[in-house]
Symmetry: D2
Subunit: 368 residues, 4 copies
């Protein structure tokens, strides 16, 4: 039982602080003979990497991942894979004044109350920098999934940022990678989002966001009935990402407003000899087990608490202080949460593919 | 690693099907010398028990819990506690026609696709009846919490049911237990909710709901930094309840719309020598660790899929069928989800209290 | 993390005390569609059951197992299987005087020192009666193994009881089930063992034993490299049985005396196209992974501490007392440890078969 | 569930291969504010390090440990501690010829049969080099124990090496660190052991050994009743060390020969107001829980299989080959197993100290 791990058969433990020498992930349980190279993982790390455009933090690090174990001659061996990312751009001076101060909305105060001490530099363990390790681990998961279920695709995108929301009628899959916000919308919309965010930044403010992640091609029958339901594990995975305050599967919170007659996804047999559904309110999961439809997860991140507008707080000695967080921070952490959420989705789905194979073997419940 | 368990040091495994001889919970890791009797647990089971008013299913069972182990002379011994509830009112005839049919919105089809066989009677393992075992386990957790942190209080209530929403300005703690809906509102409101639900029932329909659970008096410093954050574990616990499609902590999904200047809970020292906060957008948790404020969790349940209005579906052989679910079903499962959610909250909080004591011992990070 | 569980994918949690209403096992992770009936499990429980011959305790209970969940129409469903054995012959009077007394060699004193209270009746949780639950769980494991690897056979036998040792040159597989001691020897030898044990009983004494368990037909490649090696898990499984003080794999402790030239099991290709070995010092396991040879585990149990000869001890208040344990006790617990050890072996091997299937899928490392 | 981890609350995951860039341990669950520096850990690594005397392998590496996370300003923070040891002296040429060959007595063949591929260089993951990571983790555990239970001491020593056995009547604690074999005997004995081993080396042979580890000062009440008994966890921990074939607690396998009258450790109250025992056949553990006596664990290692005497084996293609393992290998791995076993003992005891604190809090079962 490690409090810094997730997953059952595919188990990831992350380690490291924002301003220590390095951080990384110990990945245990990856099947053998999966092709994995640093270059394959780097693609995803580059997607998450800060300093790439003016909408994310200007901290600039290569985030180069090293594989220290578990891969031999370009293939996994089935033994633990150690992924290490060295911290190279640690401007500790920016953060030195927070040793004695608790920033509102940060984990400074709770870490102090729990542990009595903390690595305060850059948020230490609670920094979003920890998610780089998850992205690397997710890269391994993606390659393993590719070997198990070719065609399974995982993609995340933003659907809301403060007052800006996507237009679902103009949903464009191919546009997602064409803009800085990972929105499924054309360049005109992206420009509006950028204007909105730049204004917030100038106002020394930040804003929350909603991210949606979809897994397409997940075979029916993946998951488990009660406590490690596919949706339970996905909810935990997303909630474990920094700043996340809500998680939805399929219809999500809006299900509260629906009637049974509206919510039921009716079933019919398709020409492909598989069951199909008239709709996907369920988000691809019934009773904790995948239906074969798209698995749809959505989550909200709060606005980053590191803002230049002064906020009231206290010091370790209890004295009051007005806090301005200088440093280099994202005005909307939702942007960089997209590749992180994709990585978490990949890890959870691989884990359940392996669990299913372990407990059941080949999928057996045929229909028709 | 049991897929039917939750918790770390306080670990609950539930077992049993809706129409088998019995169901129950194996509770491991409860501290010794906690007073526990069947009567203490029965209080909570009675709260969840169906057949008590016309707004819940008419299935009528005593749901009497038996303690088979782990308690000696009225006190826990530190060894596993086996809680068993016998199924006495199993009208299997109501369900017999679903052996070959997949009800839309139910786990029938996914269980079949995963396992190849299933106990179809009354939903088998996927029945909400499983939650009775959780409520019993939660009763044990409540008693253990009482011994560890006197005054810690856990309470759940409905905040929405379809179109009906509570008026937060008229929030009344004491009213919660005065009505059939566990709403913090006066009898006039409760009557409106009842009228609304009875109309739905007559229309052969059902509706979703939102439940909120609050833990008051949780000491600061409880939780963990990354994957077993207090909020992560709570999200998983709630998402594991049948029909839940979304989970929120504090501000929840609405955080996406907020700015950093609005969302920050400012900190000041109280006269009691403890840190206080100007607001509780965080829902009592920062960085996965409790702040000492109310821990606030909210979740949505979908409308029950068991309705009398016909829906399109298929049989095991792939042939189409129109499904009407007769049986005895709640028009809104949210009502009975309230005691279940309280039980899950109790289990998670006890677990983290024990984990904190194990890893840290006495709380050490003083302020002021 | 349950301290009363073992196994990874096939996970068994036992519960219950010697003199409570019942005891049992919660079995999670059994594959679906395995034929399991109470009768199938009863075979093994009857093998362990006391009161069957004059060499074991005279406590006489049917030890009838009930299946409360996880089996439908005679087949497992993949959901948790609850196995319950009711305690029917609880002569509490025999044990009443030990409420205040710590019996030497028993867990009375350590349970008291750990928990502060305990169910002292019949040893409570520390009673060997708990092993009945394991035997039931092992019965489930055996049926699942049968479905996965037909022909895999697990058999235990005694090799030593005090001064009596088997003659390996006269090893007779078929004799094992023909005598009360589960020794692989003819009736003449069995009579000598019986005479020896009856003399000890009359002397108000007890004696230790060595049990060996062999799994034949385990496919090569089952296990794991480091902490959950097949031998590690087997050692833990055997050491968890009451009174066990030593565990050996293959050559065991005697390996300390061997030279490398003597110990190496040389490898050659058999006519069946599979690797064979000139000997089996390794006990069928190399680097934590099965070789395809017999898996051989051996363990020693201490003489039961419940004897009629007076021993010095203390009461809860620290005062000295001379203890005679009346009750009904086995003069050699090794006899009944045989079916328990077989059950543990079955559970561990099934678990690793499932783990291998989960992580690797089909065995892939071909030779030749 | 990681197959490369051990421990419950104090959880260690090792990673790395013999000839990869580095190996290490991810240590999760260490209490905060424990003073830990690389220098503190290096002491134990130096004890295990090869190349120090002519009785161990001549592979010469500094085995310098780096702390990459979880320690801030010389103290643990409660977050995961990453310990990395870079591999600097990898003479891959020595091992290149084994890519296609299975060495008898090694894990080469079983890794191949399990995974289909393997890092064959120097044994890859199955190399005893992995134990360096355990020793580093054990160093952290020792410091945490020091903070929790001052005076608790853990010491290992050899008691047998092939035909050589220690004379228990001449047991000398202080001599252990005065000789190359960690034997509790004077220099004259040590010289005899050295002569014996050098002769074996010249004969191109190797030999097995027995190691004993004692923990003195473990408080009564540490452990757990059934599957994670203190003895169960210790047995698993020792069996997980390379080449171990048998594990004993207290009397061990010899208990099989004892009578109940001989084996019982009688109890009396000492002048210190604590229970004492007339003997320690139990090895300090009753019912899985510590008695307060010395905890005594013993284990046997087989002779290393890497010898210069030719042995019959096969290649990957099934063809026969005579194998001589050149490389640099210990003629008796027992010597270097001593610090490894101490490290494992430290990890297990710390883990159970934390578990006890978590489940029970302060020790409560008073006597007298």
């Amino acid at each position: 039982m490690s409090m810094n791990s997730f997953g059952h058969l595919f188990r990831v433990t992350t380690w490291g602080e924002s301003h220590g020498p390095a951080l990384g992930a110990t990945v245990d349980g990856c099947p053998p003979e999966v092709p994995v190279t640093p270059e394959m993982l780097q693609v995803w790390l580059d997607k998450r990497r800060p300093g790439q455009n003016k909408n994310t933090t200007q901290r600039n690090e290569p985030d180069a991942v090293k594989i220290l174990s578990g891969v031999f001659e370009g293939k996994t061996t089935g033994t633990p894979i150690q992924l290490m990312i060295e911290n190279t751009d640690q401007r500790s001076k920016d953060y030195g004044d927070i040793a004695q101060t608790f920033r509102p909305g940060h984990a400074d105060i709770t870490y102090h109350q729990k542990y009595g001490n903390r690595d305060y530099r850059g948020g230490g363990r609670s920094s979003a920098r920890e998610t780089a390790a998850r992205v690397a681990a997710g890269g391994v998961a993606r390659e393993a999934i590719k070997a198990l279920v070719p065609g399974l695709e995982i993609k995340g995108y933003m659907t809301q940022m403060g007052e800006m929301e996507i237009d679902r009628d103009a949903f464009d899959w191919d546009a997602i990678e064409q803009n800085d916000f990972w929105i499924p919308q054309g360049p005109e919309q992206a420009q509006k989002w950028e204007d909105y965010l730049q204004k917030l930044r100038k106002d020394h403010d930040s804003v929350g966001a909603v991210i949606e992640v979809v897994a397409r091609g997940v075979p029916a029958g993946i998951g488990a009935p009660i406590y490690n339901k596919l949706d339970t594990d996905l909810a935990a995975a997303m909630m474990s990402i920094n700043a996340v305050k809500g998680v939805e599967i399929g219809e999500g919170m809006a299900a509260a407003r629906l009637k049974g007659t509206e919510n039921a996804d009716e079933i019919y047999m398709g020409n492909d000899g598989l069951p199909h559904y008239s709709s996907n309110h369920a988000g691809g999961i019934l009773g904790g087990i995948s239906t074969g439809q798209d698995v749809v997860v959505r989550f909200a991140v709060k606005p980053t608490s590191s803002i230049l507008t002064p906020r009231q707080s206290i010091r370790k000695d209890g004295s009051p202080i007005e806090v301005i967080t200088k440093g280099r921070h994202d005005p909307c952490v939702g942007i960089r949460a997209v590749p992180v959420a994709e990585a978490m989705m990949a890890c959870v789905i691989l884990d359940h593919l392996l669990l299913h194979r372990g407990q059941i073997g080949e999928n057996r419940g045929q229909i028709g």
